[in-house]
């Protein structure tokens, strides 16, 4: 499928003032390859922002850049008005910006309980690990019986639940979910969506990287479309999903 780039920015200035995370014009390189070519996104308190777009076009890289796992070249990332793009990942985690990466990056030889506990590794969260554990178990009751099981032996859905749960253990203020539904059966995905909704209701802001439009439609407040390392479209959910290019390229509606 040939992509036509649509430079049609909708509703750009609407939410600027209240943004908790502000990513402005960042560039990321892997060697000589420029994976992110000047992306700007922002997210407000209690908001769920979805990031959609084809695979390999820079969505995950954006998330990794916010987490500090890759260094940016040019541009800046601010969190509550403070520049965070020079910080190391652990310091960013301490601020409450938590990533749930694609594939989870769980600790495979550890039990579910250990994985969750490590989610609360940063000092502030460690104190609240018991309460947070309760919250996670309320969200994902399936984990209750699996606490002593090694993660390697979990099913895909359970693993995803542990990954999200581990993210929540750190008293997250901003949760970044990278393709949480990838490879899940529709039933499990539904469970997960329920969980994400509940998380949102507790007041945590969420950045959701997703390719499945169904989930986006159900969850998102706003949407960014990232294509070839750039934001090609952004706006409220209905605006973006109603866009002609999106309809044609992603929703299969002609």
């Amino acid at each position: 499928m040939k992509l036509t780039l649509v430079k049609n920015i909708l509703d750009t200035r609407i939410n600027r003032g209240a943004a908790m995370l502000e990513v402005s014009d960042i560039h990321v390189y892997y060697g000589l390859f420029e994976a992110v070519k000047g992306i700007s996104v922002n997210i407000r308190e209690k908001e769920l922002v979805a990031i959609m777009g084809p695979n390999g076009h820079g969505k995950s890289t954006l998330i990794r850049a916010i987490s500090g796992l890759v260094k940016i070249r040019g541009g800046k990332i601010e969190y509550n008005g403070k520049k965070i793009d020079k910080l190391k990942p652990p310091d960013i985690v301490k601020m409450g910006i938590i990533q749930v990466p694609e594939g989870g990056h769980l600790f495979p030889e550890m039990t579910v309980e250990e994985n969750l506990l490590l989610g609360a590794y940063v000092p502030g969260a460690w104190k609240k690990r018991k309460e947070n554990m309760q919250i996670v178990l309320d969200l994902f009751p399936i984990l209750k019986d699996k606490m002593d099981q090694i993660c390697l032996t979990l099913s895909g859905g359970e693993r995803r639940a542990v990954a999200v749960g581990r993210g929540l253990m750190s008293s997250a203020k901003l949760l970044m979910l990278d393709e949480p539904s990838l490879g899940l059966s529709p039933l499990l995905a539904k469970e997960l969506i329920k969980g994400i909704k509940k998380i949102k209701d507790t007041g945590i802001s969420i950045i959701l990287v997703e390719e499945n439009i169904r989930y986006i439609r159900e969850l998102a407040d706003r949407i960014y479309l990232i294509e070839q390392g750039k934001v090609t479209l952004e706006g409220k959910k209905d605006q973006v999903l109603g866009n002609k290019h999106v309809k044609k390229a992603y929703l299969g509606i002609i």
Partner: protein
């Protein structure tokens, strides 16, 4: 015959205890940093000499000397990391370069000991003298102490890794470094105290080796070579596997000494090592850290 087997197994347990302590630090460092710390043998030597210094110069108290060894080797572990390993990590060819740099470190340690204490044998006064004889099996109290002390440290290490927060962080970095970064674990810090813990375990192994044998500047070399074998047998990076592996090698070593002769015990182990590397390089257990 039977009593030979029985006493070989007892000696195997003594050797295994020592090998386990010597290997466990090496394997932990491999598991977390994916590097082969060749200075490990040097730290075994240092442990023995520190306890000797503690006992002969600082009043002769075993407990205090033991604590001194643990403290000093732990601190020197940080020095090793900051001065030698960290500057080389993450560069191209770091695997080779760290091997050579830690080899150079072991040369430095050995020669510092020669300069400082001379090349003559030293011996640590016995903790307990006497022996226990059951039929034709005889085991002395020193060996019994080793069999008792080693598990304390091994279990302690396991407990630390399993139950304590920073121990869990060590395992986390070993299993998924990105995952560890995501939950806020500073891997640099974990690296440095992993090396320090490895150094501490080497120091403890050195003390026990010094208790049953004698101190010489190159004394850490042999246990290091055994530790390499054990590390692979247990599955590179697996602490639990390494402990099993150490006792297995200890018993095989002892049986070979009893039934084939002391000359061939080592070559036999090396042949087994080669076979293991060719046939089952992932080790016997395949358990991670």
């Amino acid at each position: 015959m039977f009593s030979d087997i029985a006493s070989a197994i007892i000696i195997g347990l003594v050797l295994g205890s020592m090998y386990a302590l010597a290997a466990v630090g090496l394997t932990l460092v491999w598991g977390v940093l994916k590097i082969l710390n060749f200075a490990h043998g040097g730290f075994i030597t240092l442990g023995a000499y520190f306890v000797w210094v503690g006992i002969t110069f600082l009043g002769g108290n075993y407990v205090i000397s033991f604590l001194l060894v643990m403290g000093l080797t732990f601190l020197l572990g940080f020095v090793l990391n900051a001065g030698v390993i960290r500057p080389l990590q993450g560069r191209p060819e770091s695997e080779t370069n760290i091997f050579i740099a830690t080899l150079a470190t072991s040369i430095i340690i050995e020669n510092l000991i020669i300069v400082g204490f001379g090349g003559r044998y030293k011996s640590i006064p016995e903790m307990a003298s006497g022996s226990l004889t059951l039929g034709s099996i005889s085991i002395n109290f020193q060996q019994m102490i080793i069999m008792a002390v080693a598990p304390v440290f091994l279990v302690g290490l396991m407990y630390y890794l399993k139950k304590m927060k920073s121990g869990m962080a060590v395992r986390a970095v070993a299993q998924d470094a990105d995952g560890a970064a995501i939950v806020g674990i500073d891997s640099e810090r974990v690296y440095s105290y992993t090396i320090a813990i490895g150094a501490l375990m080497a120091g403890v192994a050195g003390v026990l080796l010094g208790v049953i044998f004698y101190l010489s500047p190159g004394m850490g070399g042999d246990p290091l070579v055994r530790a390499l074998f054990i590390m692979v047998l247990g599955g590179m990076g697996s602490v639990k596997g390494t402990i099993y592996g150490a006792y297995i090698i200890g018993i095989i070593d002892a049986l070979a000494r009893y039934f084939i002769g002391m000359f061939w015990a080592s070559p036999i182990l090396f042949v087994m090592f080669i076979l293991l590397l060719l046939l089952r390089p992932q080790g016997l257990f395949g358990v991670k850290v």
